[in-house]
C-alpha cells in the first residue's frame, strides 16, 4: 500500500514506517485532504478513529496533527501525521468522514488549529468566549481565563 501511495504522491510522503507494530506515515501539509480521500476510497480506510494534535513549543512547525484511521476490510490501522505552523489552517475532513466534525472541533478548542470548510467550527468542551487553548504547552496547568470566570461564575478564581 505504501509503495502505491509513494508512487502516487512522490516525495510528499516524507516517512512511512512502523513503530511497535503500528504503521504511520508523515505527509506534507499540501497533501491534506487529498491523501485522506485516497486512503478512504482506494485503501478502504472507512473509519476515522480519531484526530488529535501534539504541540512542540520550540519547533519551527510546532504542531503535529494526527489522523488515526482503521479499515474494516483489512483489519488494519494507520496513522497519518502532518506538521503545521502556528496559525496555519487545515482543510476539514468532514466531507470524507462525518465523524470528524466533533473531533476537529475538539482540536480547535484545545490547540487553536482551524479547519477550513468545517460546517460549524466552534469550541466544544470549553465555553464560547474562553480565551486560550489549554493543551498548548505554553498554557499552564492551573492557568485559566480569570476574566471569563469572574464574569460568568461570579467568583474571584476557580482555583
Amino acid at each position: 500500500m505504501v509503495a502505491t501511495l509513494k508512487r502516487q504522491f512522490g516525495s510528499g510522503i516524507s516517512e512511512a514506517s512502523t513503530y511497535l507494530g503500528q504503521n504511520y506515515m508523515v505527509v506534507d501539509r499540501s497533501l491534506i485532504p487529498e491523501i485522506l480521500q485516497v486512503l478512504r476510497d482506494q485503501e478502504q480506510f472507512d473509519y476515522c478513529v480519531d484526530i488529535t494534535a501534539v504541540h512542540y513549543l520550540t519547533r519551527e512547525k510546532p504542531f503535529d496533527v494526527i489522523w488515526i484511521l482503521y479499515s474494516f476490510a483489512r483489519n488494519e490501522r494507520i496513522r497519518v501525521k502532518t506538521l503545521i505552523s502556528d496559525g496555519e489552517a487545515l482543510p476539514s475532513s468532514v466531507p470524507i468522514w462525518p465523524t470528524t466534525n466533533w473531533l476537529e472541533r475538539e482540536v480547535y478548542d484545545m490547540f487553536g488549529i482551524a479547519f477550513e470548510g468545517h460546517p460549524d467550527l466552534k469550541r466544544i468542551l470549553l465555553p464560547e468566549g474562553w480565551k486560550g487553548h489549554p493543551l498548548r504547552k505554553d498554557y499552564g496547568i492551573i492557568q485559566q481565563d480569570n476574566e471569563w470566570v469572574q464574569a460568568n461564575l461570579g467568583i474571584e478564581s476557580g482555583q
Partner: protein, 384 residues
C-alpha cells in the same frame, strides 16, 4: 414565518389554515440538569409540534482537563485518573491505559494477570450494561428493572470491593500486571455470582422483551444503519445492533481474549430495540467468557518486570480496547521522560453522542430520551 406578529395578522385576516401554534418552530432546552440525560448533557431541540427538526448538544460541563493532567503526572500517578472518565466501567478504562503504557514499554503482562484482567473487565461490562438497562428502562417508564439490576450489580461491586477495596473507581490494575493477588475464595465468589445472575438476566428479559409498552417505545426508534455508523465513527453495541459484526476483542485481541470462545451478537434493524437485544446477548457472552476463565487462571506471577520509575522510550502508541460503550483508545506520545508528553483519550461516548442528531431527526420528543438512553453515554467520558 418565525415572527409571531405576522401570524397574528394572519389570524386577523381570517387565514384558518395557518394558526399561531402550528406555524412556529419551537426551540426548547433540555438539560443540563435533566434526569433523563444521565448527567450534565444539554440538548437544544428545534421542534415542530412534537416532531424534532434538529438538535444541538452542548457539552463540557464536566470537563476536568484529563489530558492536560496526564502531561503533568507520571505514568503511574495518572493511572487512577482514567477511572474517573467512564466511572461506571472504571476497570475497562484502567485496562486500556495499562496496556497502552505496557506496549510503549514493550513489556507483556503475565498470563495470570491477563486472566484476572479479563474476569474483572467482563464483570465490569456486566455492571455497566446492568446500570444502562436499569436507567434506560426507567427513562422509558418501566421502574422495576432498575431495582432488579441495581440489586444484582451490587454483587459485582462486592467482588470488586473484596478484590481491591474499591467499588466504583477501582484502580484494579497496574502498569505491568495486577497489584493484588486474588483473595481466598475469589474464584468461588465469581462462580457463585455466575450461577446467581444467569437466571436474573432471563428475568430482565421476561420483564421487557415482549412487554408491549417497551416494544412500542423502542421498535423503529432512533434507527441508524451500519454504513451511517461507520461514517459517524460509532462503535460498540450501537454499531453491532446495526448489523456490523465488529468487536475489538475479536478483531485485534488484547489481554487473554484470544484464549476464549465467544460470539459477537449483532442486530438487524439498528433501532433501539435491537440495541437492547444486542446488549442483553452481550451480557450472556460476558458470563460465558468469565465461566471459561474462572477455574483456569494459570499459576505464576501477576506482575511483569517493570522498572520502579517508568520511562518509556521516545515514541508514539495507539492502543484501543472494547469498552462497554465502544472503542476506547489511548494515544500516548513519550519523550523519554517520566511523564507522558501528550496523552489523548479516544472516548467512545463522545463519538457515539455525535450520532444523536441523526438518530432523532423526524422523531418525537419522547424518543430523544429513549435515544440518549440507548446510546449509553457517560458524561464523565464525553467531557473528560
Amino acid at each position: 414565518m418565525s415572527d409571531p406578529s405576522t401570524n397574528i395578522s394572519h389570524l386577523e385576516l381570517g387565514d384558518r389554515n395557518e394558526t399561531f401554534l402550528d406555524s412556529n418552530e419551537l426551540v426548547i432546552n433540555m438539560g443540563p440538569q435533566h434526569p433523563a440525560t444521565h448527567g450534565v448533557l444539554r440538548v437544544i431541540l428545534k421542534l415542530d409540534g412534537e416532531k424534532v427538526l434538529g438538535t444541538e448538544c452542548v457539552i463540557g460541563y464536566l470537563h476536568r482537563g484529563v489530558e492536560k493532567i496526564a502531561e503533568n503526572r507520571t505514568y503511574a500517578m495518572f493511572n487512577p485518573y482514567v477511572d474517573r472518565m467512564d466511572y461506571v466501567a472504571a476497570v475497562s478504562n484502567g485496562l486500556g491505559y495499562c496496556e497502552a503504557v505496557e506496549k510503549l514499554l514493550n513489556v507483556q503482562a503475565p498470563p495470570r494477570a491477563n486472566y484476572i484482567r479479563v474476569i474483572l473487565t467482563e464483570l465490569n461490562r456486566l455492571a455497566s450494561h446492568m446500570l444502562w438497562l436499569g436507567t434506560h428502562a426507567l427513562d422509558i417508564g418501566a421502574i422495576t428493572p432498575l431495582f432488579y439490576t441495581f440489586r444484582d450489580r451490587e454483587e459485582i461491586l462486592k467482588i470488586f470491593e473484596k478484590y481491591c477495596g474499591a467499588r466504583l473507581t477501582t484502580h484494579a490494575f497496574r502498569i505491568g500486571g495486577c497489584l493484588y493477588e486474588t483473595y481466598d475464595g475469589f474464584e468461588k465468589d465469581v462462580t457463585n455470582f455466575l450461577d446467581f445472575v444467569t437466571p436474573k438476566i432471563d428475568e430482565y428479559e421476561e420483564l421487557l422483551t415482549t412487554n408491549r409498552i417497551w416494544v412500542e417505545r423502542t421498535k423503529n426508534v432512533g434507527k441508524i444503519s451500519g454504513k451511517e455508523c461507520i461514517a459517524l465513527g460509532v462503535t460498540g453495541p450501537v454499531l453491532r445492533a446495526s448489523g456490523v459484526r465488529w468487536d475489538v476483542r475479536k478483531a485485534q485481541p488484547y489481554a487473554a481474549y484470544s484464549d476464549f470462545d465467544f460470539e459477537i451478537p449483532i442486530g438487524q434493524n439498528g433501532d433501539t430495540y435491537d440495541r437492547y437485544l444486542v446488549r442483553m446477548a452481550e451480557m450472556r457472552q460476558s458470563l460465558h467468557i468469565i465461566r471459561q476463565a474462572v477455574g483456569k487462571i494459570p499459576e505464576g506471577p501477576i506482575m511483569a518486570k517493570v522498572p520502579k520509575v517508568i520511562k518509556p522510550p521516545v515514541g508514539e502508541i495507539y492502543h484501543s480496547i472494547e469498552a462497554p460503550k465502544g472503542e476506547l483508545g489511548y494515544f500516548i506520545v513519550s519523550d523519554g521522560s517520566t511523564q507522558p508528553y501528550r496523552l489523548r483519550v479516544r472516548p467512545p461516548s463522545f463519538v457515539n453522542l455525535q450520532a444523536l442528531d441523526m438518530m432523532v431527526r423526524g422523531q418525537l420528543v419522547a424518543d430523544v430520551v429513549a435515544v440518549i438512553g440507548t446510546l449509553d453515554i457517560v458524561l464523565g467520558e464525553v467531557d473528560r
